[in-house]
């Protein structure tokens, strides 16, 4: 790392020395620039927050009354001579890459982002939020949650077709379909992707809170109900969208006989699927797959790449072999240690 890097790693988090602010810091600081609302990126306790306007309601829902300044995507603000702007990351509502420009250099911090497949295909965009936009830069700081060639996402159409088929078969067999997925982002993608004509859709309270922010932002979601609003006779026809913590909880008892499933990129691997101990695993992720990571990195034109959370060592070696100057930052994103999806609970949360 050279002395005039635009972003460096500090115990509090990633830090921009000329701007004197942090990016998604994990310890309380004075000024924090936030990429998106997931708990490992947007934490409590900072004095001032700066984030993309689309994510404001989610940040407020999660963090309460905070001192928050927002910017529309693409609109810059200058702070201590550093031009800061937000650009869509396609991960969840309001998720952003942060572009930093100072003294002729441009750095981009990706946060978490979603880009799938080898070629850009509008059918493979995350339609619950603004799709990822590549930003030209000199140095790209990228996530690598799924930075291994085993992670290639199937077309969304086929993923939702298999979720629908599972739901339909359960409804015919007279049992509810419990689909577990993180309440911010994953749940809304599920809701938008499934065929709502199969039966009633029930959401967990945690999901409903986030849905309200999405609906307020104009994101179309199908009609959802609370379990108390559904006729008991119809419960067996329901699709239930709930956070992972609901697995085997008493809350699920009211549905009687049910089949459970988990939606996460980690479900790609049979061992993880079996360890999760659900009936089905659907490989649906809000993160870039291996070809997506490569495409996103190439599109920035960056000569230098710094890899954060995920399979950093693999990505760094691969990038170096492609002739790109690459390094890694140790971060506390994703709450997983070094090079593997450690504890299922922690990594599933945001995958």
């Amino acid at each position: 790392m050279s002395a005039d890097d635009l972003v460096v790693s500090r115990p509090e988090g990633l830090y921009c020395p000329p701007g004197d602010f942090y990016l998604d810091p994990w310890r309380p600081v004075d000024r924090a620039v936030i990429t998106h609302g997931h708990g490992d990126h947007a934490r409590y306790g900072h004095a001032h927050y700066l984030a993309a306007a689309e994510g404001a309601s989610i940040l407020r829902t999660r963090l309460g009354e905070i001192d928050l300044t927002t910017l529309p995507y693409g609109e810059p603000v200058s702070h201590n001579g550093v031009r800061v702007s937000f650009h869509p990351a396609g991960h969840v509502l309001g998720s952003a890459q942060v572009r930093l420009e100072h003294a002729g250099r441009v750095w981009v911090v990706s946060g978490d982002y979603y880009v799938a497949g080898e070629r850009d295909d509008p059918r493979e965009h995350n339609t619950t939020c603004a799709p990822f936009e590549p930003v030209q830069c000199d140095c790209f700081i990228t996530e690598s949650t799924f930075g291994l060639p085993i992670y290639r996402w199937a077309p969304q159409g086929s993923i939702f077709a298999s979720i629908n088929a599972w739901w339909r078969a359960n409804a015919e067999a007279g049992r509810a379909s419990i689909l577990l997925g993180y309440s911010l982002g994953k749940a809304q993608r599920i809701l938008q992707g499934v065929d709502a004509s199969i039966g009633p859709i029930v959401v967990h309270g945690a999901v409903d809170t986030v849905n309200r922010a999405y609906r307020a932002a104009g994101v179309p979601l199908p009609r959802t109900q609370f379990v108390t609003e559904v006729e008991p006779a119809l419960l067996a026809q329901c699709l239930v969208v709930a956070p992972p913590s609901a697995q085997r909880s008493p809350w699920l008892r009211r549905f009687g006989d049910y089949s459970d499933a988990f939606a996460s990129g980690w479900m790609q691997v049979r061992g993880t699927r079996r360890r999760r101990a659900v009936d089905r695993g659907f490989v649906l992720s809000d993160h870039a797959d291996w070809p997506g990571l490569q495409r996103a990195i190439a599109a920035t034109g960056a000569a230098r790449v710094i890899v954060t959370h995920g399979f950093e060592a693999v990505m760094v070696r691969w990038l170096t072999e492609q002739g790109i100057e690459a390094g890694a930052f140790a971060t506390e994103f994703g709450d997983r240690d070094d090079d593997e999806p450690g504890s299922a609970a922690a990594s599933d949360a945001t995958a």
Partner: protein
């Protein structure tokens, strides 16, 4: 192949027995007999030997996926399964195939064995390109020789019985030896399995399904209440050998292991001893190494099994005997419905004083406490404890849970394992369900007792600084590997500690700063020149995590030495 891959996916996606059986029945209802024959073979544990060497598959997968070898290896370490890694890294297929399972195996897979690597690679690449991810996973498992599936043989038998209407016990007996490496599945053999006529369809040398035993989970004080008086039971020493059946029919001998492998040629001493038995006799018992008129430790038998050819020296060093404890057929009559008492009487009349075909002695005592006292002699006798069999019980099939202790089950009343407190030194990621979790551990004991906590801490600090141990100083000596005995939550906890305390990574193995003490149990202990500690333990497993125990109180090499004499 598609249909079998779909069946595999269905079996893999549910843990409910009824759904598995239903999926199997749906498959059997539609599959051609030749395909079903192979499906039964694979589902009940049949494994063709590896057809294509792993190195060829590895090279080919990297080439097709356009990735470097190290990147494939990193993927494999995360997935924990070679075939699955291959299935995930390959580009999507460009063609499709409707070939049935039998054709895939007989016309494609088996002829590939022994072909030159170039031909093998060409063919496999073509076939991968015809299969989707599920099909590739399965096919690569089959050519790599590592196929396993989460159904028991009993479940396959149940599905066959329910879909054909043939009694399950009959199917179970016909299936004995079905997966033996020398017999090739065929449509004919499949139809024989589910044939309705009572005529003997199978091989004349067929054994019976083995009746398996349960560990007895009760204290001696409870025995009277739960088992009844000891006079209702036959107690025999429990030998640590290879469970086997000796079949004598039509002037010929067959020896079957519990894994349903025909092992006759491996044990010529027993074959010749059994020659004297009349036709129509089947004995159940244990193969052990019998030397100096006593049973020898299992590792001697293990060494003999490992030998490719049985030289005179091997036969002299590790002579085997068959210890008979049950008779399943006499004068060509199936005795399994008779009581243990009756079968025992018949057994005693049949098995004489041949040194290589011995009668398992019955041990009797006036009460359970007296028997418990005798059980304490087990280690000195080279046995694992007692087997208890109810006198009034018939010979069952497989292992079935019985709520009633005094019911028909066989009980293993084993002695407590030997145990020591050992220190975790290395950890390796597991496979399958435990992929990317550190589940396989190497344990060490001190070369001598540390004087105090400070001396132990100095050694740990030196390890953390990666200083090599001095030969004469205090050090931790690895002596055993174990990977079973912990709950999923405990494994997750240890996994976190391993990641936090990692010193170095050697591929999938990590060395850690020693912090954890485990109570390690094992069945036996012997001297070994091949281990750095000079000691080899049998069937080591973790009994519990000793979070209460500081490192310096872990056991020593001297503790292990002392157990050698037990």
């Amino acid at each position: 192949m598609k249909r079998f891959a779909a069946l595999f996916a269905e079996l893999d996606s549910t843990t409910a027995t009824n759904e598995k059986v239903a999926a199997l029945k749906r498959y059997f209802a539609h599959a051609a007999p030749a395909d079903a024959a192979w499906a039964v073979y694979f589902l009940s544990g049949g494994k063709p030997r590896q057809v294509v060497p792993s190195a060829v598959l590895h090279r080919l997968a990297c080439e097709r996926a356009g990735i470097a070898g190290w990147l494939f290896d990193a993927s494999y370490q995360s997935v924990g399964d070679f075939a699955e890694t291959v299935a995930h890294v390959l580009p999507p297929p460009t063609r499709a195939s409707d070939l049935g399972l039998a054709e895939w195996i007989e016309a494609r897979l088996l002829p590939l064995r022994g072909a030159d690597p170039v031909t093998q690679a060409e063919r496999v690449a073509l076939w991968w390109d015809e299969l989707d991810s599920a099909g590739r996973f399965l096919f690569t498992k089959l050519i790599g020789g590592g196929f396993r599936v989460g159904v028991s043989k009993l479940l396959v038998q149940r599905a066959l019985a329910e879909s054909s209407g043939v009694d399950q016990k009959r199917i179970a007996q016909r299936m004995m030896g079905y997966t033996d490496a020398r017999a090739t599945p065929s449509g004919r053999r499949y139809l024989d399995l589910i044939a309705h006529d009572a005529a003997e369809t199978g091989d004349v040398g067929q054994p019976y399904p083995f009746f398996l035993a349960y560990p007895l989970d009760a204290t001696v004080a409870e025995f009277d209440a739960r088992l009844g008086p000891p006079t209702d039971w036959i107690a025999e020493w429990k030998y640590d050998g290879i469970r086997a059946q000796v079949v004598k029919r039509a002037g010929q001998i067959w020896i079957w292991s519990r894994g349903e492998e025909l092992v006759t040629e491996r044990f010529p001493e027993i074959e010749s001893a059994a020659a004297a038995l009349p036709d129509g006799t089947v004995l159940d018992g244990e193969i052990v190494v019998w030397k100096d008129d006593a049973v020898a430790p299992f590792n001697l038998l293990q060494q003999r099994i490992g030998r490719k050819t049985l030289t005179k020296k091997v036969l002299a060093d590790a002579p085997v005997a068959f210890i008979a404890y049950d008779i399943l057929e006499w004068a060509s009559v199936d005795l399994r419905e008779r009581t243990t008492q009756e079968r025992r009487a018949q057994l005693e009349a049949v098995v004489g004083a041949h040194p290589r075909l011995r009668l398992s002695p019955v041990v009797s005592a006036s009460d359970w406490n007296a028997l418990a006292a005798l059980r304490d002699e087990s280690r000195a006798r080279g046995v694992e404890g007692f087997m208890l069999k109810h006198r009034g019980a018939r010979y069952g099939i497989g292992r079935r849970k019985q709520d009633d202790l005094a019911g028909g089950a066989w009980w293993k009343w084993k002695i407590e394992p030997l145990s020591v407190d050992a220190v975790l030194l290395y950890a390796q990621a597991g496979h399958g369900r435990r992929a990317s979790l550190y589940t396989d551990y190497t344990f060490a004991v001190w070369n001598r007792a540390p004087r105090d906590a400070n001396e132990a801490k100095a050694v740990v600090d030196a390890i953390a600084r990666r200083e090599p141990a001095t030969a004469e100083g205090l050090q931790l000596v690895p002596f055993a590997k174990a990977y079973s005995g912990l709950t999923d939550e405990e494994i997750a906890g240890v996994d976190r500690v391993v990641r936090r305390t990692t010193l170095e990574k050697f591929g999938p193995v990590r060395s850690v700063v020693p912090t954890l003490v485990f109570e390690l149990g094992f069945e036996g202990i012997n001297r070994s020149a091949r281990h750095r500690s000079g000691i080899a333990v049998r069937f080591p497993r973790m009994l519990r995590i000793r979070s209460d125990k500081p490192l310096h109180e872990a056991d020593t090499l001297q503790t292990l030495e002392a157990l050698l004499g037990v």
